[in-house]
C-alpha cells in the first residue's frame, strides 16, 4: 500500500521539492505538451540526416546486391552481422530493466523502464534491417518462414539455428512492442485527458479508451507481471539463439559452448551502456534530474561492472580453453586474434570491455556524470569490436592459407552502420517528443514511499533512528539534484 514507508536508509528514487502527483505529470509531459526546443531540433536534424544516409546506403545495397559491401569469398560475414548482433545486444537492457528488475521488485526501474524499452524496440528494428539487407535478395526475405511452397514442399530446416533466430527475433520484437505499448496506455490516457482539439483525438485513438477503473488496473498489473515473467526467459533465449548462429558451426573460434552465457552477459553490458548514453543526455536536456537520479546512474554503472567482468572472464576462459583443448586450429584461431593482423581490434575490445569498466569500482567515477557518459561510449565501441573480432578474425584466415585475406569495408558498409545509428536516434527522438519518456503511473507509485521529500518529512518529524537518518543524509552526498544545506538545518 502506498502509505507504507520504506526503510529510511534506502536512497530516495525521486528528489526535489513539492513532488506531487500533479507535478510528476507536468514534469514528464513538458516535452510532449510544448514545442520542441532548439536542442531537440538540432539532434533530430543530425539524426534524420543519418537516417537518410542509411536509406541511401541500404537502397544502394538492394539495387546492386551485397557486392557493394567489402565482403569476399573468405569473409562472408563482416560489418553486417557485427551490426546485427551489436544492435540486438543493445536491445537487451530494455527488457532486462522492464522485466527482470520488475520480477526482482527493483523500484528504481520505474523511471527508466519506458525509455529503455523504447530503446529495445528501436535497436531491434535496426538489427532486423541488417538481417533483411544481408540476405542479398530482400524480396525473398520470407523464405526462412515455414510457408507452403513450390519447391516440392520442401520445408525450412528446423534443425538450423538460423531458423530459430527468425522465430526468436520476431517473437522478441513483437512481445517487447506489446509490453511497451500496454505500459504506455495509462500514460497516453493522461496526455489525452489534458489535451484539446486534434491532439486529443489522436491520443484518444492511441489510448484505446483507457479509463483507469479498478478492474482495468487490476488486469493491467496481472498482464505486466506475466509479460515480465515470460520476457525474462525470452530475452535470455534470444541472445542464446543468436550465439547458436556461431556456436553450432564448425568454425574455430565460434564452435564453443561458452557462447550463450557470454553473449547474454555481453548483451546486457552493451545495453546498459547504451541506456546510460541516452539517459544521461535525456535527463539533462529534458530536466529529468529529479526522476533519473544519481542512484539510478550508479546502479546502472554497478550492473556494467558486473556484466563487464563476466565478459572479461569469458574472454579469458575462451583463451584458456583454446589452449587446453589441444586442437591446433582452435589454438591458431585465438593466437591469430590476439597477435594476428587484427591484434588492434582484439586489444581495443579488451581495453574497452574489460579494463575500462573496472574504473567504476571508484565511487568518484561511477557517480560522475561526465565519466559515466564517456565510459558508456567506450563500452559501446568495445562491444562493437567484440562482435567484429569474433566474426572477422575467425573467418579471415580459414583452413587454406591461399585464401587468407583481410576485410576492408566499403563506403556502403560504413554508411549502413553510421546510418543505422542515425535511424535509431531519429526514432528515439521522435519517441521523446510524442510519448512520455518516463512511466508516469509507475513513478506516481513511488511518490509517497521513496521520494526524498517524504523521507525528509519523516526525519523532520523525528520518526526515524538518528543513526539511520545520519547514514541516509550522507548517502545523499552523491546526488546532484539534492541540496545538502536543507539537511543541515534539521
Amino acid at each position: 500500500m502506498s502509505s507504507h514507508h520504506e526503510s529510511i536508509i534506502r536512497e530516495p528514487l525521486i528528489t526535489g521539492e513539492n513532488i506531487t502527483y500533479a507535478k510528476v505529470t507536468e514534469d514528464v509531459l513538458v516535452p510532449v505538451e510544448n514545442k520542441a526546443n532548439k536542442a531537440w531540433w538540432i539532434g533530430f536534424t543530425i539524426a534524420a540526416l543519418g537516417a537518410l544516409m542509411w536509406v541511401v546506403a541500404v537502397s544502394y545495397t538492394f539495387w546492386n546486391g551485397i557486392g557493394a559491401w567489402g565482403l569476399n569469398k573468405t569473409v562472408g560475414w563482416a560489418w553486417d552481422i557485427t551490426g546485427f548482433v551489436w544492435w540486438v545486444g543493445i536491445g537487451h537492457a530494455g527488457t532486462l530493466i522492464s522485466a527482470v528488475l520488475l520480477l526482482f521488485r527493483q523500484n528504481w526501474r520505474n523511471s527508466i523502464n519506458r525509455s529503455a524499452e523504447a530503446m529495445t524496440i528501436f535497436a531491434v528494428i535496426c538489427a532486423a534491417t541488417y538481417v533483411i539487407s544481408h540476405m542479398g535478395r530482400p524480396w525473398l526475405a520470407y523464405w526462412p518462414l515455414p510457408l507452403p511452397n513450390q519447391f516440392g514442399s520442401l520445408w525450412v530446416n528446423f534443425n538450423s539455428p538460423l531458423v530459430w533466430d527468425v522465430f526468436a527475433i520476431s517473437t522478441y520484437f513483437s512481445v517487447s512492442l506489446v509490453f511497451w505499448y500496454t505500459g504506455l496506455l495509462p500514460d497516453i490516457a493522461t496526455i489525452r485527458d489534458r489535451a484539446t482539439g486534434l491532439r486529443r483525438k489522436v491520443y484518444s485513438i492511441l489510448s484505446f479508451g483507457w479509463n483507469g477503473s479498478v478492474k482495468t488496473w487490476q488486469r493491467f498489473e496481472a498482464v505486466s507481471l506475466i509479460l515480465a515473467g515470460v520476457s525474462t526467459p525470452l530475452v535470455l533465449s534470444v541472445h542464446t539463439i543468436v550465439s547458436f548462429d556461431f556456436a553450432t558451426s564448425v568454425i574455430p573460434g565460434w564452435h564453443t559452448t561458452i557462447f550463450p552465457p557470454y553473449f547474454v552477459a555481453g548483451a546486457i553490458f552493451s545495453g546498459f551502456a547504451m541506456v546510460q548514453t541516452l539517459l544521461l543526455i535525456a535527463r539533462k536536456v529534458m530536466n529529468f534530474e529529479n526522476y533519473i537520479t544519481m542512484f539510478h546512474i550508479e546502479s546502472m554503472n554497478k550492473i556494467i561492472i558486473v556484466t563487464g567482468s563476466i565478459v572479461g572472464v569469458a574472454y579469458l576462459t575462451e583463451l584458456f580453453i583454446a589452449w587446453y583443448s589441444g586442437a591446433e586450429y582452435e589454438q591458431y584461431a585465438f593466437l591469430n586474434r590476439v597477435s594476428g593482423p587484427y591484434w588492434w581490434a582484439y586489444w581495443t575490445m579488451m581495453t574497452c570491455n574489460v579494463i575500462s569498466p573496472q574504473l567504476f569500482w571508484f565511487k568518484k567515477i561511477r557517480t560522475s556524470i561526465a565519466a559515466s557518459w564517456i565510459l558508456s561510449i567506450v563500452v559501446n565501441i568495445g562491444m562493437w569490436f567484440e562482435r567484429f573480432v569474433i566474426i572477422v578474425t575467425s573467418l579471415h584466415r580459414d583452413y587454406l592459407p591461399s585464401s587468407w585475406v583481410m576485410f576492408y569495408p566499403t563506403w556502403v558498409d560504413v554508411a549502413v552502420f553510421v546510418g543505422s545509428i542515425g535511424l535509431f536516434f531519429t526514432l528515439f527522438l521522435l519517441f521523446l517528443r510524442f510519448l512520455p519518456a518516463i512511466a508516469m503511473a509507475e513513478v506516481k507509485l513511488l511518490v509517497k514511499t521513496s521520494s526524498e521529500q517524504s523521507k525528509k518529512a519523516l526525519i523532520k518529524a523525528g520518526k526515524v533512528d538518528k543513526e539511520h537518518a545520519k547514514f541516509y543524509v550522507e548517502s545523499l552526498d552523491k546526488y546532484d539534484s539534492v541540496n545538502q544545506a536543507d539537511y543541515a538545518k534539521i
Binding site: I205, N211, V230
Partner: protein
C-alpha cells in the same frame, strides 16, 4: 428526483481515498467504481473485486503455442518431408525446443494481452468512457451511482470527512463525450 447521475469524490491522496471507501462501506453505500492515475494495491479486496483469471488464460494460450509449434515442426520435419541429414533422426526433439519455447511466449503474450483488451473493451479508436478528466492526472476518484442511494448530502458529508477535496454531482455519466 434529481437529475444527478453520479456522485464523484475527488481525493488528492490514495490513502484518504481508501479511508473514504471504508467510510462508505460502513454506511452501506455501494461504490460504483474507482478511477485512479496509478494502480492502488489492496483496493480489489476492499471492493470485493475477484482475482483476475488472466494468468489462467495466459497459461492456456501459452500451452496452445507449445502444441502448435510441436505439431507444425513434427508435421514438416517428420511426417511430410523427412530429410536425411547425415543419417540423423528426423524426429530430433532437442532441435524442436527453441521454437516450441518461442511460440509458447508469443501465443501466451498475445493471447493474454488480447484477452485483456477484449474484456476491458480497449481498442484503438474506442471513445474513452471517462467520468472525470483528472482521474488520469492527479486525482483519485470514487464514483457512486446516485440512483442507488437515498441521501446524497450524507454521501457528500462522508466523503468530505474522509478527506475528499471536492465532491461533484454529475448529471452525465461520461464527461469525455462533450
Amino acid at each position: 428526483m434529481s437529475k444527478v447521475k453520479y456522485i464523484l469524490g475527488h481525493f488528492a491522496d490514495p490513502d484518504e481515498m481508501m479511508h473514504g471507501i471504508d467510510k462508505l462501506h460502513q454506511n452501506n453505500i455501494p461504490v460504483y467504481d474507482v478511477f485512479t492515475p496509478m494502480p492502488i494495491h489492496g483496493i480489489e479486496d476492499k471492493l470485493g473485486v475477484k482475482r483476475s483469471r488472466l494468468p489462467i488464460a495466459a497459461f492456456c494460450f501459452g500451452a496452445t503455442g507449445t502444441l502448435t509449434a510441436f505439431a507444425m515442426i513434427y508435421y514438416m520435419m517428420v511426417h511430410d518431408w523427412p530429410m536425411n541429414i547425415g543419417g540423423k533422426p528426423a524426429f530430433a526433439i532437442p532441435d524442436f525446443v527453441p521454437i516450441m519455447f518461442e511460440l509458447t511466449v508469443l501465443f501466451g503474450a498475445f493471447g493474454m494481452v488480447g484477452t485483456f483488451f477484449y474484456k476491458n473493451h480497449l481498442f484503438p479508436g474506442r471513445a474513452p468512457r471517462v467520468m472525470d478528466l483528472r482521474a488520469t492526472h492527479d486525482r483519485f476518484i470514487i464514483a457512486i451511482d446516485a440512483q442507488e442511494i437515498k441521501d446524497a448530502k450524507k454521501v457528500e458529508g462522508l466523503l468530505k470527512e474522509a478527506g475528499a477535496v471536492e465532491v461533484l454531482h454529475n448529471e452525465r455519466k461520461y464527461v469525455s463525450y462533450e
